[in-house]
Symmetry: C2
Subunit: 404 residues, 2 copies
């Protein structure tokens, strides 16, 4: 039986390229192909495109163009922030602060530094809604803290972190301890999921480093950038031709950078209207899902990304649910795509206090520009029989009262 | 005056995207946009595209698909090979061997390891034709050598290195010193300029690591791969979702990888015919340029990339020549684009023994698929008056007999 049209509800894993972004990229995939480091006019045209993109992106972040370092995506931006700052400021201290619900592209470089490069890390807990508390951040800072890394919004459960307040607390700690604003501890914000939905002004947030990638905002894959506050120096991950102010060598991905610029500026311009539309869809979907018995909302009910819904259905196995939905033409996920190769339940949902046996049945629905009311209806129609079938097969019968 | 059509003769800096490569990429820039790590069918379609690309590329290298690690370009592939092997095998030794004419994406990570991570490096000299001698490599190996890094072909002067013989000498040293073939020293070959022109069978070369990038073979920018012989482990540069067998985290650049596959397979299929065509153009251009007084050929006359011409004109300043040619619609370079921001003469040409004052007037012409006999004629017509004008302005009058 040919099923109905596909519904893609996994925008947090990756979003389609916006046709307007592809249009912006096409001249750089065809005629204007020079190497921006070349002296001749083909090189200069490419360099101008990269420079213009840097200017536009800086306007969205309310920073200087020279503070934008282009990278090959969000993983590299996070790694450059963490490994680069630690290796560069190692003589100032070895202490790092992060939290239990960060993306693996933040947690794993920190684990590496602890295992192999002499770092000590404080892993902050989150509350049941997935929130990191500014008090906890401030309380964890020591004389040897070089970096605090807290995400802007969680990629699995959508909780929006109080990053501006965390920035203010770090600044207050510095003032109280005779440090200059430009001294460590530095504040890194992984904004890969927040970009497009939340304001990115780096001064309002009070961060020194901010990671953004393209593929979550309808831009190309494997292109992103790291905001690096002027005056900070990061030990590079890649050495070579000295591009990006010496912080990131390698011939620039001109078409990708042009696409990233277009994606970010479109998302910035359309943010308020699109957020309002998505929040209405989100809240209707959440209400419909919570009407299914033994269902728990993961993440914060209101301090939440406009496009994110994440629930746990007790007594079911999430991967089976995803495959059933996939057969019905609905693409959703159990959590982060980057960990879906492992069958372990999400480290994020476990960190919010949901026990291992209950964390298995989680569903993440991340909506996008093409998502409509009828898509929400279709999911709300398709899901209850899938849940009922899987629960019949399940040997586990958990008591909901322990899991709310 | 509107000048004639543009002639692009800087393919070693970057090549245009082949329209056939763009055609292959387009489905992955539009419909098939999933994250290869996602469970659902949108993810699986993306994963299949990446897997197929890996299989095709492995056939060109005559290796296993699992030995191909996709990277964001040649700089990252070189850095992963050098930093990754050194950090992973540090307990086996700290000695590295390379040569004076490598790309900065090889030299600079090695310099970093020497300055910051306890490495010792032997920098081999090259002869006047830019060749590294296998005897010199073998003679430099010590009990503590972990890595030898020699490029397949030089990006500036086009000299093709005897990599198979170097591979054989390293193997012979291991046999004579009771080492297994899979023990250090390992052999890394930077094939970024060779790919498309020379055979890439890794077993025939006898290397453990080989870097290739897309933008030099009419593929997309900032996508490449590192061949990593099965059994070798490299400390990653990027930690996160554990993609690429744990050696290179980050959501895969699906469209880029598909483009890289198409670019490499096309180049492989068309190599012999295209090489014959380019060698005829190259040798005619070299003969024409050497007819200009006080001109020296840089690099090897025959063990040379089919598309590479590099000459030094005494008593002129290279950048001025490039700008004059650019005005006439001809895009060429003085050397590597990656170092063109610096006005220092090429480290490669200096390494071949040409003195500093004579190395300034170098011209690199790197031809491509679109280059024709009439392009060669136009360059040979445009250049002599430019040289004559610049020589009139030059305060330097070198004696050719010292520079041949």
């Amino acid at each position: 039986m040919p099923h109905e049209s596909e519904i893609y509800l996994d925008h947090a894993a990756t979003a389609p390229l916006d046709p307007r972004v592809l249009d912006a990229m096409m001249p750089y995939l065809t005629g204007t192909f020079g190497n921006p480091s070349s002296f001749h006019s083909a090189g200069r045209s490419a360099k101008e495109a990269v420079d213009d993109a840097r200017d536009s992106i800086a306007r969205v972040l309310e920073c200087r163009a020279t503070e934008i370092v282009f990278t090959a995506g969000g993983t590299e931006a996070n790694n450059l922030a963490i490994l680069g700052a630690y290796r560069s400021y190692r003589e100032k201290g070895n202490h790092l602060i992060t939290d239990a619900v960060e993306h693996h592209a933040v947690l794993h470089p920190i684990e590496h530094l602890v295992k192999k490069e002499g770092a000590a890390a404080t892993m902050l807990k989150v509350d049941r809604l997935g929130m990191v508390h500014p008090d906890a951040v401030e309380g964890a800072i020591t004389e040897g803290t070089v970096l605090v890394s807290v995400m802007y919004a969680n990629n699995e459960i959508g909780t929006v972190m109080p990053v501006s307040e965390i920035g203010a607390r770090i600044a207050a700690w510095k003032a109280a301890h005779g440090r200059k604003p430009t001294d460590p501890p530095f504040f890194h914000v992984d904004a890969c999921q927040a970009a497009g939905a939340l304001p990115l002004g780096v001064k309002a947030i009070g961060c020194d480093l901010m990671s953004v990638n393209g593929s979550k905002i309808y831009g190309p894959k494997q292109v992103g950038f790291l905001y690096v506050r002027s005056g900070m120096r990061l030990e590079p991950l890649l050495y070579g031709g000295g591009q990006e102010g010496g912080m990131r060598s390698g011939t620039e991905n001109v078409a990708g950078i042009v696409g990233l610029r277009k994606a970010l500026t479109l998302a910035h311009e359309e943010r308020e209207r699109e957020n309002a539309r998505l929040i209405a869809l989100r809240d209707r979907l959440i209400a419909g899902l919570l009407a299914i018995p033994k269902t728990r909302l993961n993440g914060h009910p209101t301090a939440r990304l406009p496009n994110n819904v994440n629930v746990s259905f007790l007594d079911i196995e999430g991967e089976a649910m995803i495959l059933h939905l996939d057969e019905a033409g609905i693409r959703a996920s159990t959590g982060s795509a980057c960990t879906s190769a492992s069958l372990d339940p999400s480290h994020v949902i476990i960190a919010t206090g949901l026990p291992y046996e209950a964390a298995h049945g989680s569903l993440r629905v991340t909506m996008g520009r093409a998502t409509t009311d009828s898509d929400v209806d279709r999911l709300l129609t398709a899901l209850p029989p899938v849940i009922a079938t899987l629960r019949k097969l399940s040997p586990v019968k958990l008591d909901m009262k322990h899991y709310v």
